[in-house]
């Protein structure tokens, strides 16, 4: 058949053995994104991730709201990690407006951000469990997450989307008796996540399914620009909390977790080890925090920045999260650009899936610590 094709379109030659499969965008596992895989029998020959189904225009919206009213919508892309996604924005606005944050507020922000990292990672782990058909590993993290959600709700008044960080500190001081409750629940939480080792991380069935699948070498991890747990699972010791400490991270005692293997198993283990480190950070921060003092500096209504731009980044649950803000002497920012870890890790997916079995796709895909809504902004 030689019918004329409209300009710009071309027919693709189809190999008889190759089948194209769309995973998503309505697939419960893929989240709001589509992965186009081409399979030959049971093996993947090519993979094309197709994000963008939940683009919300957060960056454009930020140009029409002032520095304070930007807060509620900017945390929407990752509602489980809403403190961490606001963190670079708030740090950037503080630098633009020249605000010095009180010491106690810095500690509260670190505690809130670590709690949020754990809340996000537990949710991610629950989904990882159900991806591998391990329904206990869905129930336990989903339940134990409640301990920390309860703490965040006491601290900020909302279970998710806390809108707690503002330029100049945090919205409110800790409720009375919070330190004791926090210490008790975080200690119990740490005990609980250690129990996941026997049922999940040391489980031979899980190891057989995830070990040596989707190996990302150290060179590739750096070359592709991956970040966060994906990078650390490939043997690169890079954690922004250590490399570019913000707020009070340089005064706290913690270490980064680095594994060498770079396979799905290592990528699923690093966030779990990070959670234990987060528990240590929270305990240490609670101990070192000034017991009283101001938590928020009063701003003028509708604060304006100068003719300036600023780039700040923090370590979120999914890796480095950057925020670039340009101001032009108006109460609204001229431009807000978010650089998110999810999107940068997704680039590795086509490389990892090539030659893998189709059955390994879910474990490799979710081990990249990918959050579709964040990637689309």
């Amino acid at each position: 058949m030689t019918a004329e094709l409209p300009p710009g379109l071309a027919l693709q030659k189809v190999d008889e053995r190759i089948m194209t499969l769309n995973v998503g965008p309505q697939h419960p596992g893929s989240g709001h994104m589509r992965i186009i895989v081409q399979i030959d029998g049971d093996y993947i020959v090519a993979c094309d991730p197709d994000p963008g189904y939940v683009h919300r225009g957060e960056e454009k919206m930020a140009e029409y709201r002032n520095y304070i009213t930007n807060i509620p919508h900017l945390e929407r892309p990752v509602i489980h990690d809403s403190c961490n996604i606001l963190y670079p924005y708030v740090l950037g606005v503080e630098e633009l407006l020249g605000i010095e944050v009180p010491e106690r507020a810095k500690y509260i922000r670190v505690i809130a951000s670590e709690l949020n990292r754990c809340i996000y990672t537990m949710y991610w782990l629950a989904i990882y469990g159900i991806f591998l058909g391990h329904s206990t590993m869905f129930m336990w993290p989903a339940g134990d997450r409640e301990l920390l959600i309860d703490l965040m709700e006491k601290m900020s008044g909302a279970r998710v989307t806390h809108a707690h960080f503002v330029p100049g500190g945090v919205r409110n001081d800790l409720p009375p008796n919070f330190e004791d409750v926090c210490l008790r629940q975080v200690n119990y939480f740490e005990k609980r996540i250690k129990e996941y080792a026997a049922i999940f991380y040391d489980n031979p069935i899980l190891i057989a399914r995830t070990e040596k699948t989707g190996i990302l070498s150290r060179q590739d991890a750096i070359r592709l620009g991956t970040t966060g747990s994906v990078l650390r699972a490939s043997g690169v010791d890079y954690d922004l909390r250590k490399k570019e400490p913000y707020d009070v991270y340089d005064e706290l005692d913690f270490q980064t977790n680095v594994l060498k293997e770079g396979d799905s198993y290592a990528r699923s283990k690093v966030p779990w080890l990070d959670m234990m480190e987060s528990c240590r950070i929270i305990r240490h921060a609670l101990e070192k925090m000034p017991k009283s003092g101001s938590v928020r500096v009063k701003l003028k209504p509708n604060p304006k920045g100068g003719d300036d731009s600023v780039y700040k980044r923090v370590e979120s649950g999914r890796g480095s999260l950057g925020c670039y803000i340009v101001s032009d002497k108006k109460p609204e920012p001229y431009r807000v650009k978010l650089s998110v870890g999810s999107f940068r890790n997704l680039i590795a997916l086509p490389y990892l899936l090539k030659g893998e079995k189709l059955g390994n796709m879910p474990s490799v895909y979710w081990s990249l610590n990918y959050w579709p809504v964040e990637a689309d902004r």
Binding site: L147, G157, F178
Partner: protein, 165 residues
Amino acid sequence: MGTATGIIKALNSGIKHIAIKRFTLRYPEEKLKFVGDGYQFDPSTGVGIAGLKGRHMLFHDHCTGCQLCSIACEGVAEAIAMVKVPDQQTQNKKSIMPQIDYGKCVFCGLCVDACPFYALYMTNDYELSSFSKEGLIYTPAQLAVKPYVTQDSEIKITDRGATHG
């Protein structure tokens, strides 16, 4: 570690959980207890008071009709509309007060931060579901009512695990 020992260990870890207490909160019968009476804001210090960000509460004897809450919400959700109220308050010359549409509100509490006259707080009431869209719009008179809430369940940590009780 051999495969068999690993599987037995994993099973054992699950079986041990039969003896552990249930963590589930039986929601409509039990309700979580929150700290304080809801999120409040002190304009003199510029710092909020911790509490749940639930349904708002409006104090008619403080509200001056200055519209600052509605201006704050314009950038967030446009949930607040200023409406005429029948009751005469000396401090409220124009007799207008906020009316909140909970179909739009995202419970960020920025309107509470914006009110300079201690007139708008948030409460522990989060059960706002309604059968119609109109039912979600709360007039100033409805907002003035202090909600009746019974919430007493807290997370308890015992040797046999955590429970809500």
